[in-house]
Symmetry: C2
Subunit: 292 residues, 2 copies
């Protein structure tokens, strides 16, 4: 099946043509400007390519709830011109194919679930720790939606006793994103995360926050695997620190092998690498085609 | 449809016969002793009643994951004799009908979803605050399972600056259950919760913990309604306190009417009242019959 994919960030759009196994045949990218200008470039890219469905992973907040009056639109983004723009209506007005629409992080979660590190399971959680913190989850084979999409990057965590940094989140100051996203690392230690040595105390504190988040995700969603990606997780020393701290926090409360001897296969890096965004969008397109 | 229902607690079993609309025709109860003795009483009650399916909501932890090698059993309970006892095998060995099996709190969540305060929606969360704290969730019309069932009562919360009480949880000390369950109220204030006046500062502190939990549930699961039950929630002053504190914590981050002008219809008491456990078990039985 030939699928169209859109990975839409606040800075740039990446568009691709690919297949349902995640192979990207062709790609392009251009800056995010106004909806009119940027969508015209999207239309031009897909025109005449014969795609059978399009998947779109977008910067949020969006309305991904099928049946809702504003389904398919970006809602209250601070990004100029895009508030209330309906992506699904725009795409369907131009191409007569099924359109899958979700947040970029939900797309990545679906990508890892169908094509990457969580294949063959019934549920998973994908978290990305980079400029911000975002997470998406698959439960019973479906992306989690309800009122809207999850915003798991903003859950509350306990402050580390040695942490004097106030936090970067404009809404909550010291929520998970406020304390653990890449920019917080740089501001707290006066040096960008990528420049800190692997034995710097920054990583222990970072793992302290991430393990708390994972504890709450495990207790609330009970996912069968947790995939951790994003720029901050390129520091491989974080994985063993997070695994150990999660076990300490749970203290044996959830008696499952994945949380004891199997934890190295439970908390894992992504498999889709630099194609994660486009693969996620392909997975959204494939799902839309199947559900059409 | 005539359904059998079992509400199994660590102290007593309640068994009932009812219909899929939640009507309980007949009920009985007996103490929880050994599996042999107690299940013999269950068998005797259902014998010859012509039930078409049985739903069982059990004290946990259990394995509710269909396809798992230990599906249908109680796993590592401290309750003597019941560890590794397989409830589903026992019931199916005696009655040739579909059996639905889940935790008591997941049963109650399904009950409120199909028959109670969250009817007609696609998702909901049910939380009970009593001797312990437990919660179950429906997402996309299905109860959340993954590795196992959720254990949402044990998530981490931030300690109130005025709270010197260490917490009751034997695993985590001051997790949500450790700080907010009924027994913690009694130990913290030296007076049982039911004896404290509605303007006592205990309720403000209680709401501080419950609102944190709800914030994390909203950000992780995005449920379309939250139903709050259990002995502690019989204090009606808690509802407005929890609603207001949740709004303060979210600080407008999730732009949905249910979290602003619609919050009184978003955070609500249960509708099933004293029949919640049996109605939940009936709902589990109905679901098992539908999926058989």
């Amino acid at each position: 099946m030939k699928l169209g994919a859109i990975e839409a960030g606040g800075t740039k759009f990446v568009c691709g043509i690919g297949t349902e196994d995640g192979t990207v045949i062709e790609r392009t990218s251009f800056p995010t400007t106004t909806p009119e200008e940027t969508m015209a470039q999207v239309f031009q890219f897909f025109e005449g390519k014969g795609v059978e469905a399009i998947g779109a992973g977008f910067f949020g907040p969006i309305d991904p709830v099928i049946g809702s009056p504003t389904y398919g639109s970006i809602t209250t983004t601070p990004k100029p011109y895009w508030s209330n723009f309906n992506v699904v209506n725009a795409l369907k007005g131009r191409f007569d194919v099924p359109v899958g629409f979700d947040t970029d992080v939900n797309g990545a979660a679906l990508g890892e679930y169908t094509l990457g590190a969580a294949q063959g399971l019934d549920s998973c959680l994908y978290i990305t720790i980079g400029t911000g913190v975002g997470a998406g989850a698959v439960v019973g084979g479906k992306l989690v939606h309800g009122l809207s999409h999850p915003e798991m990057g903003h859950i509350l965590v306990r402050r580390h006793p040695d942490d004097k940094y106030e936090g970067t989140c404009p809404y909550h100051k010291d929520c998970l994103e406020g304390l653990a996203a890449g920019p917080s690392l740089g501001k707290r230690w006066g040096t960008a995360g990528a420049e800190l040595t692997p034995d710097h105390p920054a990583w222990d504190m970072e793992a302290y926050y991430l393990a708390q988040a994972l504890m709450n995700y495990v207790l609330i969603l009970s996912p069968q695997r947790i995939v951790m990606g994003g720029g901050v997780m390129k520091q491989p020393q974080l994985f063993p620190l997070v695994r150990t701290k999660l076990q300490e926090l749970l203290n044996g409360y959830v008696p499952h092998p994945s949380l004891s001897e199997g934890i190295e296969q439970y908390i894992v890096p992504p498999q889709l690498g630099d194609n994660a965004g486009l693969c996620g969008a392909l997975a959204l397109g494939k799902l839309a085609a199947e559900e059409a």
